[in-house]
Symmetry: C2
Subunit: 211 residues, 2 copies
DNA sequence: GAAAAACTTGACTGAATGGTCAAATTGGAG
DNA sequence: CTCCAATTTGACCATTCAGTCAAGTTTTTC
């Protein structure tokens, strides 16, 4: 029997890690319902009962992967500094998010899929933790506006717009590659995306001289 | 036996319509794998074998719904007029897309889910029809830029940005409602979204006087 | 209004899949 | 080395679900 306490053996540490890596790949590709324990076990190189020795159920694996992903996903958002230069802070944030989309598209897709299907596993989290954090950052943006450092825009919609645009590059990857075959090569593509997004979005919120 | 030719009887027309409506609702909520024929049959108010009398398989229903949706989805994009005022044309397009997100979030989600999982059913379509159409509209944008009517931005990334932002309101609806509970009331919310998106994005591409 | 065609469905089948179990194998503390 | 706990897995079970079938009911046609 796997230990009921929190203590993990060496092998448990290793194998849980292997399973979670495999699960992220599988779940992000096929969604929760579309993935099977066998697929994950195969990718993890172990038998299904062995996998179920480490996690009590498919759902349990899914929730664990999702929670791990969420923390990673939020870090650059938390790091937005109220005392920094607004344009620079947003530029940094957008860059980080695009980098994340390029490096961990699976995480982005896992999350997108969860939200798309009504966020059954993280609805609670969205309404409490995420809402609190976004409210906090919206205040920061409002202060920037009050100080005349950026144009007056709704901070919530600005945040949604940044999320939408940056994650689009991971979530709609197939569509983008179909339209821009050169995107497949990777090199330089994300830089071009970053340039365009930053140009449009930051110009859009720089305070204007004229009416 | 259902007629092998193209001729549809009165009842066939009615029932195929009912089935496709039900299928859109179910598939957009649970995804392809997450949906069952029984669910669709229930929602359509008929027995499973009856439903399978009109469509040979689950996949066939799915593809049909998806194709119907795609046409609708593309219409406002096709309607962008090369000879119109660029800012007005883009404003109109963004408004149309947001309206579509508000009115048919199921369609948007169905499409998002398909792309997210690698577009198995419409990969072909993306690479041919969609690519051609986007290339065409990218040319239009490039002409606008050459004429100095909008700022020089990569037309493809501009298009992606519009898609990302507008569809986000349908696809990530649950997240948005968790953060902005007032969004649930609906009235005025989409107008606020439109205002913000239009302000940021159009300001971002208006040609600037200063360096 | 009767025959033919179109439609409808209860009962069923086979494959897929989440999860169990008992019997084996391996790892590690003393 | 020895023994016990931890790990591993083949075989199995129960359920779900796409799709079939044959027997009925309704609509259409003439």
């Amino acid at each position: 029997m796997i230990s009921t306490g929190n203590k993990r053996t060496r092998i448990q540490g290793i194998n849980r890690g292997i399973i979670l890596d495999a699960a992220l790949e599988v779940f992000s590709t096929y969604g929760f319902r579309g993935s099977t324990i066998d697929q994950i076990a195969d990718k993890a190189g172990m038998s299904k009962p062995n996998l179920l020795y480490y996690f009590p159920s498919k759902e349990d694996i899914y929730v664990t992967v999702l929670e791990n992903t969420l923390e990673h996903w939020l870090t650059p958002f938390r790091d937005i500094d109220p005392d920094g230069d607004p344009i620079e802070e947003l530029r940094k944030y957008i860059r980080e998010k695009l980098k994340f989309s390029a490096m961990s598209p699976e995480s982005s897709r896992l999350f997108a899929n969860e939200i798309l299907h009504g966020a059954p596993a993280i609805h609670e989290f969205l309404q409490s933790n995420l809402k609190r954090l976004v409210d906090e950052k919206a205040d920061v943006v409002n202060q920037w506006i009050a100080q005349g450092k950026i144009a007056p825009v709704d901070p919530y919609h600005l945040i949604f717009m940044i999320w939408a645009t940056t994650q689009h590059y991971a979530d709609f990857d197939v569509q983008i590659r179909a339209i821009l075959p050169e995107a497949a090569e990777g090199n330089g593509f994300f830089d071009a995306a970053a340039d365009s997004v930053l140009t449009i979005m930051l110009n859009g919120i720089v305070p204007r001289q004229d009416g």
